[in-house]
Amino acid sequence: MADPADPQVLDRSWRTWSSLIVIAIVLTGALLGVLIIPAVQGRSAGIDTFTAICRALGILPGSPAVQQVVSRNPPTPVSQVVWTPGVLQILAAANPERGRAKVTEVCFACHGENGVSISPDIPNLAGQSGAAIYKQLHDYRSGSRTNQSMTDIAKALDESVIADVAAYYAGQPMRNPNPRTLGASEAAIKLVELGDPNRNIPPCSACHRHGSGGPIETPVLSEQQEGYIMAQLKMYASGQRRNDVYGRMRAIAAKLTESEVKDLSAYYRAGLR
């Protein structure tokens, strides 16, 4: 008979018992969590045991304890644009030179050949995010956003030309902040940098500056035309413009006072950030 104090003998019982205990514990957990709990819960909710177990495992959707609800009918979306790697691929593969051709043919008349517009009511596009330009042109084309002149122009463009134009304007240098306009109001700076927690308004800069990590389609706001921003904020507030997915801008614009709209438009004419 082996000496019970022999380390080898000691070790064998350690191995056996610890393995048995550890595995028994985890199997007990599995038995309870994956079989017994869902079976009992399913029975009380009128769900068959197999379905309840599949739900507990995550193979079927829903809770093992509650009947699953049924979805509703499809409605009309506010924008047809879907951000996928494929769309980003189209944007990345766009040809700015072809875009320039289109710009010098059509767009330059209002938005300028290098993206600086001819009027305070028409947006600057120089250095704008390509994704933002793509989204708006796409929405004009699909009718999600309407504008007397833009709707017709966009309808004549196909997907690849939209991407080319977006790439061309995105590549134009943004102008330097104009020191004459830097005197922004305290209220505007606060809204841009802090937002207003009391009114559920996030800081504008959380989405509208480069690299903010916000929604992909948000335009970069800097050196933008004052009249254009003011008009858009008013159209969002009234619901006249509604191609912002889930009404993000409609909700915010509706909460802004008239003077805030003015201050913000002035702020972004300079583009402090």
Binding site: S18, S19, G33, V34, G58, P64, E193, S212, G214
Partner: protein
């Protein structure tokens, strides 16, 4: 010390410098979130600060401290020179380079994704690569610890590995397992996305991989505190360790049960079934076992010391303990904080009850008590204990050391007790400011102010800690101190191989991980969940 002093000191000073900076940021964050500091600083500043605070406390302080402490334990407990000291220095340099990269990206505002990342948000790739360098350096440390133990075993066949080294290697082994999850998440998903090589991320998979790391990493931070409990506290108190065997079992239980439980961080997530969550909740209950065993064993060890010092009666030994010694004082305070923090943890792990407090200040309070409280106060005690050995100098007085420990304890309690209550009211996490005009939130204001006071006390304590250590470098040279490590009542003469190495336990970890994480991870491989577009903060 065989010339490892400089290596240890270099690691410790990086750790504590990061700690002091993070303490300043933490206090600032509390101030701007309170009614007193409303509307100061922008959300951009705040998230920059939270990211820096989390990275410094959770990655820099811990990793550097644990590496430095591991080298110290390897040299002192094995009484042999450290193998591969050049590798250790190389690891240190790589880790410092990583930290510098991380600091630069955060300061440039290109790292504001907090220390827990949240893909599909992504920061600058250099933020993640810096962190990967820190982790890679810690892997060098893991290998050196394993080599040191193996060499010692070769020279001392059949001898039990000293408990301090056994525990350190348990931690190294656990860390190798732990980092696998976050390493795969970063290298396979997040870093390619940050570089723009991929445009989408399977978020469910990313969260599951991170959860693999998320619980065991806390035990990686915690084990040095437990090493101090088992191997330093009994001697500091003037007694003996009640049971060496229980120490070994405790560290083994940490190794096997801290890993297959990470999904309790995902209890409120929609990407896993309730059954697979239950399995890990079940196992989570068992991760409380090593802590509860430790509470008893260490209290018993302290009772030995107290009674040897003349304590009588059922509780008389408590008063007889040498509370004037920082190690003993820190242990007492750590146990109190561990009690409160553990209580919060029991609530967190309770499956359905997690819904009551998930992502509220309750959770913030819980991990500040457990980590910031009991673990970090033991880091202080360890530093105070070994600093004279590293510098060859003696403290003029222990008074400032005790004051610092008390301040840390009081500050932590004043800060976290209100947080528990606020969490139950639903005060949520990770916001730069609260709208105190809202009637519900206005009611929280006074308690937020109280917790701010706690935060300021913590800041004072943190700065005093650094001062105490720095002052010692200019202290009087002193004789080589006496041995550090406690003897057990029954020092082990021979132990079963199972309690002297990790082969068996690694196999059991593998089995547990397969059972606990096998299906939850496989479901994303069998049919990837619909992926989300990357959102870049940079």
């Amino acid at each position: 010390m065989r010339n490892a002093e400089r290596l240890c000191l270099a690691h410790f000073w990086v750790a504590f410098a990061a700690f002091a900076a993070a303490a300043v940021l933490g206090a600032w964050q509390m101030w701007v979130r309170s009614p007193l500091g409303a509307h100061i600083g922008t959300p951009d500043d705040y998230y920059m600060s939270v990211t820096a605070h989390g990275v410094a406390m959770a990655y820099v302080l811990t990793t550097f401290f644990i590496m430095g402490f591991g080298y110290f334990v390897a040299v002192t407990s094995l009484d042999r020179p450290l193998p591969g000291k050049a590798w250790a220095w190389l690891g240190f340099v790589v880790a410092v380079i990583g930290v510098v990269m991380v600091v630069i990206t955060i300061a440039a505002g290109k790292g504001s994704v907090l220390f827990t990342f949240y893909p599909p948000l992504t920061a600058s790739p250099w933020f993640y690569i810096g962190l990967v360098l820190v982790v890679a350096a810690s892997w060098v440390w893991c290998v050196l610890m394993l080599v040191a133990m193996a060499q010692w075993k070769r020279h001392n066949p059949g001898q039990p590995v000293p408990l301090a080294m056994f525990a350190t290697v348990a931690n190294a082994v656990m860390w190798l397992w732990t980092t696998a999850g976050v390493a795969v998440e970063l290298l396979y998903q997040v870093i390619p996305a940050a570089f723009g090589l991929i445009q989408t991320i399977d978020v469910g998979l990313a969260r599951t991989l991170f959860s693999w790391t998320l619980h065991a990493i806390v035990y990686f931070w915690l084990i040095p505190a437990y090493i101090a409990f088992y191997t330093m506290v009994p001697r500091a108190a003037g007694g003996r360790l009640y049971s060496d065997t229980m120490g070994r079992i405790t560290f083994i239980l940490f190794l096997i049960y801290s890993l297959p439980v990470g999904m309790h961080h995902l209890l409120m997530d929609p990407e896993h079934g309730s059954g697979t969550k239950f399995i890990q909740v079940f196992l989570t209950a068992f991760v409380s076992v090593p802590t509860l065993l430790t509470i008893f064993t260490i209290t018993a060890s302290l009772e030995i010391a107290g009674r040897l010092r003349g304590g009588r009666g059922l509780f008389g030994w408590i008063a007889a303990l040498p509370w004037e010694r920082p190690m003993v004082l820190a242990t007492g305070l750590a146990f109190v904080m561990l009690g409160f923090g553990g209580f919060g943890g029991l609530i967190n792990m309770a499956y359905g009850m997690n819904a009551m407090i998930h992502n509220t200040s309750w959770v913030t309070a819980h991990f500040h008590l457990i980590f910031g409280g009991s673990v970090v106060i033991m880091y202080f005690a360890i530093a105070y204990e070994i600093w004279p050995r590293l510098t060859g100098r003696a403290y003029v007085s222990l008074q400032p050391l005790r004051l610092q420990l008390w301040l840390w304890f009081v500050g932590m309690m004043v800060m976290t007790l209100p947080w528990h209550w606020l969490g139950l009211q639903g005060q949520w996490r990770r916001v730069a400011n609260f709208n105190y005009d809202n009637p519900i939130i206005a009611g929280w204001g006074p308690l937020v102010d109280v917790s701010l006071v706690g935060g300021l006390v913590l800041l004072v304590s943190a700065l005093l800690f650094v001062r105490n250590l720095a002052a010692l470098h200019r202290g009087l040279p002193a004789a080589v101190p006496r041995p550090l490590y406690a003897l057990a009542v029954h020092p082990p003469r021979q132990v079963p191989a199972a309690l002297n190495g990790f082969g068996l336990w690694n196999v059991l970890v593998l089995v547990l991980m397969l059972l606990a994480y096998g299906f939850p991870l496989a479901q994303f491989v069998i049919t990837p969940s619909p992926s989300a577009m990357v959102h870049r903060i940079q």
